[in-house]
């Protein structure tokens, strides 16, 4: 059931509740918060990874429709994960939302140049996450099948 605070993504987006999300963050609490917010928005298929090194094999092996990643993580950082995704023929069109405390102009520009689909700085609100998801998904073609 959708949270009365967040509401549902309406119409077209409601048809996409079967989307598979991968949430990558080294802090398990943040993964859990994002997972809860996604559940509130009606997305039940959420997988977690704690850095780029664990996320990349999951992305390559799985059938993910959306990647939400932190930037500053031990192992492989979010920007490198994004670059790997964009360099992979099968994954290159995957929507990638960067959810990070990194807020310098240079870093935001670097993420944009690497092909990020959206950029949210922490701390963030549920409304901002919803808005960015909605915007990115609206620009995506409907899921096959």
């Amino acid at each position: 059931m959708s949270s009365p605070h967040l509401g549902c993504l309406e119409g077209r987006l409601d048809a996409r509740k079967d989307l598979n999300f991968l949430v990558v963050d080294d802090f398990s609490t943040m993964r859990r918060i994002v997972k809860n917010l996604l559940h509130d928005l009606g997305y039940a298929n959420v997988t977690e990874a704690d850095d780029g090194n664990t996320a990349l094999p999951l992305l390559k092996a799985g059938n993910f429709d959306f990647l939400i990643t932190d930037w500053n993580m031990p192992g492989m950082a979010g920007l490198d994960l994004l670059k790997h995704v964009r360099a992979d023929e099968r994954l290159k069109k995957l929507p990638v939302l960067m959810l990070t405390a990194e807020a310098s102009r240079e870093q935001i520009v670097a993420a944009a140049q690497a092909g990020v689909s959206g950029y949210v700085i922490k701390p963030f609100t549920a409304a901002v996450l919803k808005e960015k998801l909605e915007k990115i998904l609206a620009a995506q073609p409907a899921k096959a099948g």
Partner: protein, 234 residues
């Protein structure tokens, strides 16, 4: 006996020893006498360097005796690392416990809201007294259960007191460490000319914004990020 007379006697003995060793072909004895002579006749510059080195050594010895740097490096810094790791653990546990309680409360509130909406959809006269009593009983018990979880969320925030005290202790240690290192730098004359200018690589991740300690100007808020990305055509 004045200084030159004393040195003359010594030089005379050493020169004789060198001469004898030369005559005997005794290289070791010749070298030994020559080194001694050189040592006794060292230049004012060498003796000056030796004096400065001695003074520096004395200053370092004194520093070593009085400074807490050794204690700090050997005991307090590893302690601080453990303390900070404990803070990380405390905050992690508190956040997860809070999330547990929120996740337990959400379906209770959702179920109550759902049942209320169902009852509201029916005409008023359609509710039997038993239905209403049952709903009110469920409402009361659910409210109590949610209230109990909110109380626990409240108590879970106690981690802030403990972690705050630990972090203050670590801040005190950092201050001491700074003082001891500054003293060492002063004694050693290690401060480079451009010590005050700090170069931060643009590749360095800054982490969360902390007022007063950012070396690269962050954008102010999400609205600025959006404007920046929009300017880049996103």
């Amino acid at each position: 006996m004045n200084d030159f007379a004393r040195r003359s006697a010594s030089y005379s003995q050493l020169i004789s020893a060198m001469s004898d060793a030369l005559a005997r072909g005794d290289e070791a004895a010749f070298d030994a006498a020559a080194w001694t002579l050189e040592g006794e006749h060292e230049s004012p510059m060498r003796s000056g360097v030796r004096r400065v080195a001695g003074e520096l050594q004395a200053a370092l010895d004194q520093f070593g005796k009085s400074s807490r740097l050794v204690d700090l490096a050997e005991r307090d810094v590893p302690d601080a690392r453990q303390r900070l790791a404990h803070v990380l653990k405390l905050t992690d546990e508190a956040a997860h416990r809070t999330l547990d309680l929120v996740e337990q409360s959400q379906p209770m509130a959702d179920a109550l809201a759902r049942r209320s909406e169902e009852l509201l959809k029916q005409p008023e006269q359609g509710h039997s007294p038993a239905t209403l009593v049952e709903f009110l009983k469920t409402t009361a018990s659910t409210a109590n259960e949610i209230r109990a979880r909110l109380d626990e969320v409240l108590m879970t925030q106690g981690y802030q007191d403990i972690s705050g005290q630990i972090i203050r202790g670590v801040m005190k240690l950092v201050n001491e460490l700074e003082g001891a290192l500054a003293e060492l730098i002063e004694i050693g004359g290690l401060r480079p000319a451009n010590a005050s200018s700090r170069v931060v690589s643009p590749d360095t991740l800054q982490g969360p914004i902390v007022p007063g300690v950012q070396h690269i100007a962050p954008v102010a808020a999400q609205i600025d990020v959006d404007a920046l990305l929009s300017g880049l055509g996103m």
